[in-house]
Symmetry: C2
Subunit: 212 residues, 2 copies
């Protein structure tokens, strides 16, 4: 199994660069320097320089910097947004419904084609034009539609079986919003969003004495 070659800290900074670069482009700028980016995002210019060198072969020139249009394309390509990955969602509750209706995933190279639920009243209906199908058909449907990403917005108790069904259908990336640990075979990436962590960080912060 090859090691994941992506330097995670770089990957975590790149989406913020992309947002900033697009804002600069909209406001009419044509070039950008590492120092500009570092200043705007309160980062170390050395890190920014290294990140961009890893991502873009176009190279920044002294006093001129990077050409904004080229750099944006390079970052998008590196982040995998240039190609569209097909996804399904499992669990159409509050969060699942919100994600289904969210129009912004296309900008990240992800398209949700359908959702699955076990509720008889939901199956057969549509949200934002996307069909809600029976969870019993997850594996076959994913296999037939060459689905790569599964978004899990089910309760914790239903997460492992839904995850197993997605993987049986050929899915290789799981975006997990269920508050539970998932067991997966090698070669499958689980990206978990646990809102308990940010809330714990905020709560701990608020328990510190107030200071100026």
């Amino acid at each position: 199994m090859p090691k994941d070659s992506v330097p995670r800290p770089t990957l975590q900074r790149l989406p913020a660069y992309l947002q900033l670069l697009k804002r600069m482009q909209q406001s009419g700028a044509t070039n950008v320097s590492c120092n500009d980016i570092a200043g705007e995002l309160s980062l170390n210019p050395v890190s920014v320089r290294k990140d961009l060198a890893a991502v873009s072969s176009s190279g920044g020139r002294p006093k001129i910097g990077y050409v904004l249009d080229t750099l944006i394309l390079d970052v998008e390509k590196y982040l995998g947004y240039a190609r569209t990955h097909q996804a399904v969602l499992v669990g159409v509750g509050h969060l699942g419904g919100a994600l289904l209706a969210y129009p912004g995933f296309a900008a990240y190279g992800v398209e949700i084609l359908a959702a699955f639920d076990h509720s008889r009243t939901l199956i057969g209906s549509r949200i934002a034009g996307k069909p809600i199908l029976d969870v019993a058909n997850i594996s076959q449907w994913c296999r037939n539609h060459r689905i790569e990403i599964g978004v899990l917005t089910v309760p914790a108790s239903a997460a492992q079986s839904a995850c197993d069904a997605l993987i049986a259908g050929g899915v290789r990336g799981i975006w997990n919003f269920a508050p539970t640990h998932l067991r997966v075979p090698r070669g499958i990436l689980v990206q978990s969003e646990d809102m308990a962590i940010p809330l714990a960080m905020l709560s701990k912060h608020l328990e510190q004495p107030e200071y100026e």
Copy 2:
């Protein structure tokens, strides 16, 4: 300004411990060992031992382990879930509406009292019993209700001004879902959820060649 004394890796593991401990409690267990936890969550037992020693003064005994009920209370107290922090939400779109309707925040010690929006059709209505108020009143309302946490689900272009209004109202923790960098004074914690990062991790994973 005192340094944040919370060891972040420990804090990131504790919510997963808590989920597991509660599942064990529901299934009738009374004691748990560090090795049990490490095995279930695929972690190093040494890390688990250190984490629990930092959090619980009750101590694990050889061959018996921790008393489950006591350990759960210790972890909840450490995570700040024992005390309730009052919050407001700004921006009642798809995601904001889903978070407002989500009944599970109480378990994390957070209660959303009200939401703010600029839409004339939304102001005056309620979602999940919570009033939707005019964004113009954020600062004063937060000050009057001693709000500690602000949840930002506005578009990027509206995020900084909403953040400034929350801070002017005495809020010290910002849970930011807007895809933008926020500038805040010292003593304010911003916890940002950028879905571009997990999606980029998944996309990069899918571009690697498939392997067994």
